[in-house]
Each structure stands twice: as C-alpha cells, then as structure tokens.
C-alpha cells in the first residue's frame, strides 16, 4: 500500500551494518555487509518520487533513480537492477565507489538540510545489483545479429568494459587488449578487496565473455601492436583507447628513491592484483611497514592507508597539504579511515625523507601550510609557512599525489592529438583526431571517477556505431554502383 509523504518523511535513513573498526582493520573482507531485503524496502520507501528528479540531474549517466527505487520498494529487486543497467552497466561497482554525496545524493531533496538524511541511493543501487547477481538472476542480454565489423578496445577498466558491452550488443565483434593478466583496470589493481570484492568485477567480465567479447590479456598495446597495426594487419574497423591515467607522480624531494617509498600504484598493485596480502601463498612480496606515512588526500590515499593498516602497520598517518574539507576522497572513505584510527596531519607536506645506511626510510621532515587565496578551481590555495618544520619517524612512505598520462600508446600513435599534459584530445563523443580511433576515461580526463569513465565509454560506443554505419552505408553504395 502506498505511503503518504508524511509517512515516508518519518522513516530515518538506514545505515548498512559494518564490520567494527577494531576488527576489520586486520582483515581484507568488505567493510559494510549490505542491506537486508527488509532494510532495502524500508529505505526505498523514504523516496518521495520528486517530479523534478534533482537526483537524476546529479547523476553523470542519468540513471532513472526514482523509478529504480520505486521498483525496489515493491521488492522487484531484479527488475530494479535491470532498469539501472539501461544506463549503467556496473551498478554493483558504482553503488560502492561513486561519490554519491557530490552526485545523486548531494542533490536529493531529503538531504537538503543534512546530507546524511538523503536517500541512500548508492546503498540501494548496490543492494539490487547484488541481489540480482547473488540469486543468479542476471539477464542474458540479447545481442543483435553480427554485423561483420570488428572493433578493438584497449584497456579493460570501467570505460573499456562499457564500450565492449555496448558494441557487442549492437552486433560488433569486440576484442579487448589488456596489459595485465587480469581485467578490470583500477577496479582490480587499485581499489582494495575490502571496498570492492573482486568477484563482482569477475562476474561482470564473465558476462561480457558470455556475450562473445574476446579478451587478450598480457597485451601491452604500443609495444605488442601499435594502433595502426590494429587497423592494417589485424583488420579492425575502429579502436577505442581506455588505458587510464597510469603513470605515478613522485615528489621532487630528497629520499624519494629510498627503500620503503612506494607509489600508491605499486603498493596497491602488489596487495590487490598480486594478492601479496596472502604472501607467501601468493609469491609477490610486500614489506609490512610499522609506521606508515601516506601522502595525499584522495580515494587512492585512503585505500593505501587502510591497506597498510590491514597488512599489519602499527600506525598510519595521512599527510595532506590542504585542509580536511578539501580532501577529494569520498565521504564514506574518510569516515571509515577515521574510524580505523588513521591519523591525519593536515596542512603539511614533506620536504625530505630520511634514510639509513642500508637505504631504508627512517623518517621525514615536513613543512606546515596555511590556506591562502582561492585558486582557479575555487579551492583555497595551500601556502607554506616559513620556518615551520617538523619531523616524525616512519619506515614507509606511500606517495599518492596523483597520476600522469602513460605515453606508451600516444607516443607510438603520432598522428593522434594529445594536450600539453599528454592526455588524448577528443570531441564530446570521444572521437580523437585520428579517424576511427576513440578514447575515454582517465586517459582523456586525467584521474576522475568510475562513473565518468563509463559515461565516456557509452558516448564513444554511440559514436563508433554512428561512424561505422555511415561508412558501411557509403561502402555499400559505392560497391553497388
């Protein structure tokens, strides 16, 4: 029976049950357990089905949010998940990793006064997608007749997987080339198991393979084949580049090459992709730090810090140049990190890392910062305070201050335009300056989000389809005459 607005308003937001902080900080299991069906229904009933749908305007891929929530309220969980999938092919992933507080939930009318009272859109998205997968209700998608055209996708991150899914459904033969031995991109090598269980990504990749997508692992494009080879010797009609941002940035300060200094990419790849948290069963070694310092304030920094803790560190400190409010990490990650007693040294940045005879990190010297004038992005710029240095002991430093474009492909494709930072230039639909070559995700935008990478993939798939159909019509007419 339908509830009145008043009744809906009276229901409080349902929080997901979680592993307690002092228990979860030593294991790699997922932190929140997820909703029960009853909780999901009750949470869904809080939604007011607003006519203007402000939540939808906050969603980068415009998921029909009130509609999927209404289906969940009626316990039609699998239908709800399928509705989301018309816009977002990885709801189980996005429900867990999207920055909802700045997207859908940030716009929700029920969160106007207090964001913590917004409808838990992410939690519901996660619940219905998990429900569909765990109960084997995943729909085998219909694919159109093969159209005889071949497309190559470079990289199996969220943007590459989206393009592949869309194109295979349209009847293309799709081949993915992935550099690593496993697919999923950052979802697998970057984001830890305790935040995104890998079996979810595996299930999605399995579903794509069932549709006929062929994935070649261990294939570093730019080295094994050049983009031109994909057209000329391999006969592809279009190529999509979704290789992510990739290259780590290190600071230009003394001590950066000491043992115990890692890029977050290395640290997380060892732990997640290579499973060194299961060393020695898995052979890739990992050095367990006692006192670990993590540089940065984004999701990557939170993931590194929380991984260090779970690997056995006694103390983990986040060192960030700006203030707490300016940290780009998702609210949930910051909250979890704080609960797990990760220390924050804000408005501080290292100027030197100290080492011993053997070349190992022993500590670091930082400078304090204060907030100055706002910069172009509107954020107050951090300015160093003169002579305000402090030192502290640490035996590991994880650098997660951002990434750079990996030049492996762009350098071997000189006729494709890149901007001054090396990111690929595209039109709004993902077309690069090279004919029949498309790009999207972090290699175009720089480090961004899973959902924006997927959105870019979806637009590029449309562009590829449009361009190839036009081309084949022309070829057909030419052939006819």
């Amino acid at each position: 029976m339908a509830l009145t607005t008043k009744e809906r308003m009276a229901i409080e937001r349902h929080r997901m049950a979680e592993q307690p902080p002092d228990f979860r900080n030593r294991n790699f299991e997922e932190v929140p357990y997820g909703y029960t069906p009853e909780q999901a229904v009750a949470e869904a009933q809080r939604c007011l089905s607003c006519k203007k749908m402000p939540c939808v305007s906050g969603c980068p891929v415009e998921i029909p949010i009130p509609e999927f929530i209404a289906l969940a309220a009626e316990e039609k969980f699998a239908e709800s998940a399928r509705l989301i999938k018309t816009k977002n092919v990885l709801p189980a992933v996005c429900g867990r990793v999207c920055p909802q507080e700045t997207q859908c939930e940030g716009q929700c009318v029920r969160g106007k006064k207090d964001i913590a009272e917004a409808i838990a859109i992410g939690n519901l998205e996660r619940f219905v997608a998990d429900y569909e997968r765990e109960n084997d209700l995943m729909e085998v998608l219909k694919i159109q007749d093969k159209n005889g055209l071949k497309t190559a996708v470079i990289g199996s991150g969220p943007s590459g997987l989206t393009v592949a899914g869309d194109l295979v459904k349209l009847g293309y033969k799709v081949t993915i080339y992935e550099a690593f031995h496993r697919g999923g991109g950052v979802l697998v090598y970057g984001i830890p198991e305790f935040r995104l269980p890998k079996k979810i990504v595996e299930a999605e990749i399995g579903a794509l393979e069932d549709l006929g997508v062929k994935i070649y692992y261990n294939s570093v494009i730019g080295r094994l084949y050049k983009v031109d080879d994909l057209f000329h010797s391999m006969g592809f009609n279009a190529v999509y580049i979704g290789v992510g941002a990739g290259l780590p940035i290190f600071l230009d300060i003394p001590g950066m090459n000491l043992n115990g200094v890692f890029s977050a990419n290395e640290y997380l790849t060892r732990s997640n992709l290579m499973k060194s948290y299961l060393f020695p069963e898995y052979r890739t070694p990992m050095i367990v730090g006692r006192k670990v310092a993590v540089l940065g304030g984004g999701n990557v920094a939170m993931d590194s810090a929380r991984t260090a803790l779970r690997l056995g560190a006694e103390k983990v400190t986040i060192v960030y140049r700006r203030a707490r409010e300016q940290m780009p990490a998702r609210a949930a990650e910051l909250h979890h990190a704080e609960e797990e007693e990760i220390e924050f040294r804000l408005l501080s940045s290292p100027v030197e890392i100290f080492g011993n005879e053997g070349g190992w990190v022993t500590g670091m010297k930082c400078q304090r910062y204060e907030l100055g004038e706002p910069d172009e992005s509107g954020r107050q710029r951090p300015v160093p305070i003169e002579n305000s240095f402090f030192e502290f002991d640490c035996d590991q430093v994880i650098v997660s201050i951002g990434g750079q474009a990996n030049p492996l492909i762009t350098k071997t494709t000189p006729d494709m335009k890149v901007n001054k930072w090396g990111y690929i230039e595209v039109d709004p639909w993902g077309r690069t300056s090279k004919k029949f070559v498309y790009a999207g995700g972090d290699i175009v935008t720089g480090a961004a989000t899973v959902i924006s990478a997927m959105g870019a993939g979806r637009r590029a798939a449309k562009a590829i389809h449009e361009d190839l159909m036009k081309e084949s019509d022309e070829t057909f007419t030419q052939g006819w005459w």
């Binding site: 890029s263 050095i287 990996n406």
Partner: protein, 284 residues
C-alpha cells in the same frame, strides 16, 4: 597458451623455449618479457635471448636465483606458463658504430645474443666477451660465434680464456689500444658496474641493461626506478639500457635488496611445501 616446447639446463641456467607467436613477431633486440609461472607467481622480467617467427617461439635463459626462477626451472616440456607479457622495454639502439663490444655474464651470455646479431647485421665488427665461473658453464656459444667476429672468454678459475671477468678482458683490450666504438653489457648489477668502470677512463660509450625490481613493466608503478645522471627513470619503459657511466650504482644495489627478507621467507615456505608433498607421496 604459452606452452613450454623445449627445456634444458646448463648448471643453474635453464633454457626455456615458449610458444608465443605474437611476441616473436613483434620483438626486437634488447627487449624483455614479464612472466608468471602460475596464478600465484610473482611477475618477473626475463630477457628474450632468441626468437623464431616461423615456429612462433621465444627463447629464455633463466638463472635460478630464488623462488620464481626456481618454479620456472621446475617446469617441463608440455607445461604452460600462466602469463607472458611482452615485448617490453625500448629495443637496443642498432646502427653502424664500427667496433662493438658486447659483454655478458650469467643470463647475459644468452641475453646479449640478439643485440650482437643485430649489430652484426648493421655492419659492425662484433666482439663478444662472456664470463663464467668455469669452462663448462658457458651456453648459447654456437649462436654467438655465428654472429660475432670474435668471442672472448673469461673464467674465474682460468679454465677457459682469460682468468678473470669480462671487465678484465675489456681493460686489457683498451690498454692494448684496441678501439671500441660502443660497448653493451648484460648481467648482474655488480658486473654491469665493474664493466662500466672499466670503460669510463677511456670514455667508451657504454650501455648497460639494468635489472631493477619490476612489477608491471609498463610504467605504471615506479618500482623499477633508477637514478641516471641525477634523474629518476623507469627502467621498464625508459630502459632497460642506460648509459653505464651515469647510473647511480649504490642506489641500484640497495634497491635490488629491498625484498631480501621476504625472498628468504617465501623460499623457506616453498621448501616446506616440497617436503610435505614428498611426505604425502611417501618419498620421505
């Protein structure tokens, strides 16, 4: 995929010929692959010492150094490797230099072969110098002779060629006034440093194939970073070959020892596994 087609061993160096037609088709001298024996393995870099585009195979020489190389050494013909990624790294710069010296130790004896062959094809005079503890430990000699104008030997015990190491042969040549236009060295980091020191006083252009610890091999992690001429470079994508006179060797040696403790732990756990396996089979 990646089936092992041929195996043999010369002391603790293991030859492995692997089916990898795509790699065989696109590889060039000086490049390497990253290998995982099984799903549980570490990713380790290995130089491709030869390849055949007709049979679609690549040849590796693997020096048993620890757990990963040991696990590879235990693989037999018919087994398959879990992952072979490549080609990686920038190929050796091949041009007409004049006289080229290529020095190889341990896995470098096989590893220098493709560069020697390419240098020969580019019209250079090729002198290969290879070192080992004693005479029976040399391998891949026939092939090396076929592409070299001269192959010189050095052994620690003097059982073949000059008593000593590659750098001793190089120094002797330079002292005699033999002109070297370009030198390439491949082997353990200590050998690379000693050879670079040998050519430094004579300002011979010297390239060394560095072997820092690697993980992805495509530039995304920075594990392999080395300091060359005061700059941080990633050996997997900017190298592996660098100017031997500019490498910060002290740093490289320290970085290579980063996992020494874990290497022992994993080795012990492996021996333990082997013992239990044997016990299960009733062999102990």
């Amino acid at each position: 995929m990646y089936e092992v087609l041929e195996r043999s061993e010369i002391f603790n160096v293991h030859k492995m010929v692997i089916k990898a037609p795509e790699i065989a088709n696109s590889i060039n001298a000086g490049q390497f692959v990253i290998i995982m024996g099984s799903e549980y393995s570490e990713r380790i870099p290995l130089t491709v010492s030869d390849w055949n585009t007709d049979t679609g195979t690549i040849t590796l020489y693997i020096l048993e150094a620890g757990i990963s190389t040991l696990e590879l050494a235990r693989m037999k013909v018919g087994d398959s490797l879990y992952a072979v990624t490549g080609p990686l790294g920038i190929p050796s710069e091949i041009k007409h230099y004049g006289t080229v010296v290529l020095g190889g130790g341990c896995y470098g004896i096989g590893g220098i072969y493709p560069t020697a062959r390419a240098c020969k094809e580019a019209g250079n005079k090729v002198i290969a110098i290879i070192e080992a503890r004693y005479s029976p430990m040399f391998y891949h000699e026939k092939e090396l002779h076929a592409v070299s104008d001269q192959v010189l030997y050095a052994t620690v015990d003097g059982s073949r060629g000059r008593k000593g190491k590659v750098e001793d042969v190089v120094t002797e040549m330079l002292e005699k006034g033999i002109k070297i236009d370009q030198a390439f060295f491949m082997g353990c980091a200590e050998m690379l440093e000693r050879c670079s020191e040998a050519t430094r006083p004579y300002a011979i252009p010297t390239k060394v194939a560095l072997n820092s610890i690697m993980l992805d091999g495509s530039g995304m992690c920075g594990a392999c970073r080395v300091s060359v001429g005061g700059e941080t470079r990633f050996a997997c994508v900017d190298g592996p070959e660098f100017d031997g006179h500019k490498v910060d060797w002290k740093e490289l040696h320290k970085r290579k020892r980063a996992y020494a403790e874990q290497e022992i732990v994993v080795y012990q756990s492996y021996s333990h596994e082997c013992l239990s396996e044997k016990k299960l089979r009733g062999e102990l």
